[in-house]
Amino acid sequence: MGFITGKYDVIVVGAGHAGVEAALAAARMGGKTMLATLSLDNVALMPCNPSIGGPAKGHLVREIDALGGQMGVSADKACIQMRLLNTGKGYAVHALRAQEDKPYYTMIMKEFIENQPNLELKQLMVDKLLVENGEVIGVEAETGEIFEAKCVILATGTYLRGRIVYGQVNYECGPNGLRSATKLSGSLLEHGVELMRFKTGTPARIDARSLDYSKMEVQNGDDVVRNFSFISDIKTREQIPCWLTYTNADTHKIVRDNLHLSGMFNGLVEGVGPRYCPSIEAKLVRFAEKERHQLFIEPEGRHTNEMYVQGMSSALPAHVQLQFMRTIPGLENCRMMRAGYAIDYDCLNPLQLKPSLEHKAISGLFSAGQANGTSGYEEAAAQGLIAGTNAMNKINGREPLVLRRDEAYIGVLIDDLVTKGTNEPYRMMTSRAEYRLLLRQDNADLRLTEKGRALGLVDDYRYGRFTEKRTALERTIAQLSSINIAPSEENNAKLLAMGTVPLRSGSNLLELLRRKEITYGKLQQAFDLPVLHEQVAEQVEIHAKYEGYIAKQYQEVERALKLENKKIPGDIDYRAIKELSSEAAEKLDKVRPTSIGQASRISGVSPADVNVLMIALELKRRKEQE
């Protein structure tokens, strides 16, 4: 039998990207928190690609940062290359993407965690979840130690019954040869938690010294130094390039000839893999007509020769992986340091969760990250932050933090998960967000910092910088709209000099800024305005230039909010509403939406079902009133 060795408010199982943010948030909110990891040397490990950010993912990082999370700050520090993607495609989809020094990232995160008050980091294999009367009471470790807690957050990544497969190699294991958590799944099933089996994969790593760079295309970072975090002040950064090359007919022949040996096709991989992260085997099968596939060779850090072969994820036997890579220009003599592999793991069906990320049936049990069927470091960190925050909100008897779809990508992510579920590892994409113009990476702080502040996640320093920026922004907009310019000869000469057409009637400066050719910088010089911080100037420009579109999106939001604000009580019996279609009743019963808005997003629930539901709710309300 076990023995009680500790008592906590919150225990976080797993110290990957979700677990780290969860534990930090809980501790920052004053909860006595324990963070359990299978290996103290691998906290916030990046077991797959060495990059953070990109479209939608970079947005998530900014949002995490605005809410006081750690990912942005660490990613800025460990960054070895940064680019702003999509610059030609509109502010809303501008996306920062960083190459990271992986070992250094782990080091920085470990240091943060170790020095966070209220937080204990422990190397521990958790075997059991302890539940009493439908409430979580703690966890039991393989040592027999029992740790009591008011809330437990599962952030188990790919470790739950994790199993690595490539060729005939097939063993129980977490990523990178770390231990697999073999017993916790069984304990979860005993408590009625529904599990799914997913799969993901990673490519081989090759030795930087064995490559011929003259045959590849160099890809450098941007000259302008940028940061994810709104509080990072890094202004110079030594960058390391990535390299672009392509597969060819020889590569494809080797892969095709050996398909039967791949873990993907020899029956060893059970889980469902993500479509956006296919193995090279899957790419060649699904897009047989494509003559070449691009791959990026990306450094894994400053102090290692390992290079990540992006695009070549594979579960083929190691010798075949080496053989096909050697057909690729630049890689003819490559030495493989680690083989790529597929990994199978258990995760929770997210339809079991409330929008707070708490399990519907087990009070005090939260889960986040790959454990909820997502993929990606950023998606994981975002959920971790919310799970940690809401565990503390629950303990403190406060309302959970639930971000709406019009407030944050985090809101879209979690709403999708708990409303629609997922049948493959879920990846965030900007096209999943219906209010994309509002959810820009540049305004994440304006959207979320106040919320984080109210919860105790945002410290004085961050909040001070934020309010300063906000004040400058408001002041500038007010100023620009109050300065009227007459169509005088002098003014029109200035406009011509700025490359724009002269005025025919008076206009204020904010209206002028709407013109495509005009920037704040130009106005500032021509009309002697104050010099602004670059970020503030950008906000002012976006405000002016996107105004019409932003207004359009706010109108849509307002319409949608009417349905979001119609709450559904938790005790409603959908099966008793006979006018609902049976499919709708079943889905509604499973998802148990909290609002009419959420109900309307469930697939299989028609507009007629939503109308019926609204009437049934009114009926229920009146009956209860009597």
């Binding site: 509109g90 490519p203 994820s313 006018e579 028609s606 009437i615 009926l619």
Partner: protein, 458 residues
């Protein structure tokens, strides 16, 4: 809490001397005031609620109809919201115009059962009626679902589907490039996007101009009865007129300088061209010969081609049949009170059973089947859904108009080379609106398309 303002015709369409358009919601009074001019020169709001006010409906400065209007203040109305009801002449033209005007002024078409739903949600109807309301919503939505399914096979649905697909293609291309900027995906050009959008705009404009059922409901089905002399055209017309429950209107045609007549045949409004004086001279129609028949065919939406089944077909018959084939047509083999067997079989073989009907204008045998055929022609196989179809189509038209306006914005954005994210917003809105007609949602579709079309991923 007040909802969007909605409006609909709440009387049976075209079948009464008076028709009523109800406008309900927050902006009901504002919408009403913009359409209605009281004879007294005062505003509706100047009168005490529930006062019947005499006046006229104007669209800009052109007179639509002479009406009575009443404002009912929330919660003292059917829906317990602000309501304006306009009583006008019962003809289709007038009702349609007033309804359309209400959309233009800020109301949106009411959905099936929506007034009643609101009444209930606002506490107006008692508990015992609530289940009935849910039944209405359920059955109406099933009826409209059936309509939607039928439209799957129809021209309109086909056009909508291909239109929607074109738009989804644009979005998929743009989204793939946005979400996977470093992938090996060919970037789309503004010119291509613009071209594609303007094609779609043209298609919607075409649809709006030709939306079959909508146009029939608005203007009647432009019908020509043709055939060589003495095959029974006028007796057929008279037989049909007996079936007519209400002569809707008799008015000077707006497009041509001739008299047209509308009749409502079991819910199907027909416009019979060039029947001037039909009641005076019984054989006017009968005298229409081949040349005149061909002329009538020109702008008909349905050609009723009459032959005498008891006689051998003549060269004239053949010429008219041949000309009719270019249009939607039905062949009436008249005089089924005599032996028409061989002619009927031969014609059915040549033109298909669906297109050929036997009847006797004299005994009216087969007239009912023919009106059923007409209903089917206009509404599809389930027969008229009366107001269901009507609301549905008004809504579709409105949705199409809104979609068009979004697309025009998108086209402008592409033309001005505004960033992709701006273009995508308007195109997606247009797709959503089209989806409301066809019942499709777009979210997963676009992502699925991205993955099936492009090989992407690390």
């Amino acid at each position: 809490m007040q909802e969007e303002t909605i409006s609909a015709v709440i009387t049976a369409l075209g079948e009464g001397a008076v028709g009523i358009v109800r406008i309900s919601g927050e902006k009901a009074l504002a919408v009403g005031e913009r359409m209605f001019r009281a004879a007294s020169g005062k505003k509706l709001a100047d009168y005490a609620p529930n006062t019947l006010v005499y006046g006229h409906i104007y669209e800009d400065d052109s007179l639509i109809d002479e009406v009575l209007a009443v404002f009912m203040k929330a919660p003292r109305s059917y829906t317990a919201e602000d309501v304006v009801e306009i009583q006008c002449h019962g003809g289709i033209q007038s009702l349609r115009k007033i309804l359309e005007l209400s959309y233009k002024e800020g109301a949106r078409p009411a959905e099936a059962g929506e007034f009643t739903k609101r009444a209930f949600l606002n506490g107006r109807i008692d508990l015992t009626q609530a289940e009935a309301v849910m039944d209405i919503i359920r059955s109406r939505s099933e009826a409209s679902l059936k309509l939607a399914v039928r439209q799957q096979n129809g021209q309109l649905a086909k056009a909508l589907r291909s239109l929607r697909k074109d738009l989804v293609d644009i979005v998929v291309n743009l989204e793939a490039v946005i979400d996977y900027p470093e992938e090996d995906i060919e970037d789309v050009t503004f010119t291509k996007v613009q071209e594609s959008i303007s094609n779609s705009c043209a298609k919607i404009q075409h649809l709006l101009a030709h939306a079959h059922t909508g146009k029939i409901l608005r203007e009647g089905l432009r019908t020509a009865i043709v055939g060589r002399p003495n095959v029974g055209k006028s007796s057929l017309l008279n037989a049909l007129l007996k079936e007519d429950r209400a002569i809707v209107s008799e008015y000077a045609g707006t497009t041509r300088d001739v008299i047209e007549e509308q009749l409502l045949l079991d819910g199907v409004p027909l416009v019979l061209a060039d029947t001037a004086g039909i009641r005076q001279t019984d054989d006017y129609v009968e005298q229409i010969g081949v040349e005149k028949s061909k002329q009538h065919l020109q702008d008909a939406e349905l050609v009723i081609c009459v032959v005498d089944g008891s006689e051998k077909l003549t060269q004239e018959d053949e010429e008219i049949l041949e000309a009719a084939k270019a249009k939607p047509y039905v062949i009436i083999v008249n005089k089924s009170d005599k032996d028409i067997h061989d002619n009927l079989l031969a014609l059915q073989e040549r033109f298909g059973k669906e297109q050929v009907m036997a009847l006797s204008a004299k005994t009216t045998e087969g007239i009912e089947e023919f009106t059923a055929w007409l209903k089917n022609f206009v509404y599809g196989s389930e027969g008229a859904l009366s107001d269901g179809v009507y609301v549905q189509n008004a809504r579709h038209e409105q949705l199409l108009r809104e979609a068009l306006s979004f697309l025009e914005d998108a086209g402008f954005a592409a033309e001005s080379m505004l960033p992709y994210d701006c273009i995508v917003i308007d195109v997606r809105n247009a797709i959503d609106l089209l989806g409301e007609i066809t019942g499709d949602t777009v979210q997963d579709e676009i992502i699925n398309e991205i993955f099936s079309r492009f090989c992407i991923g690390k």
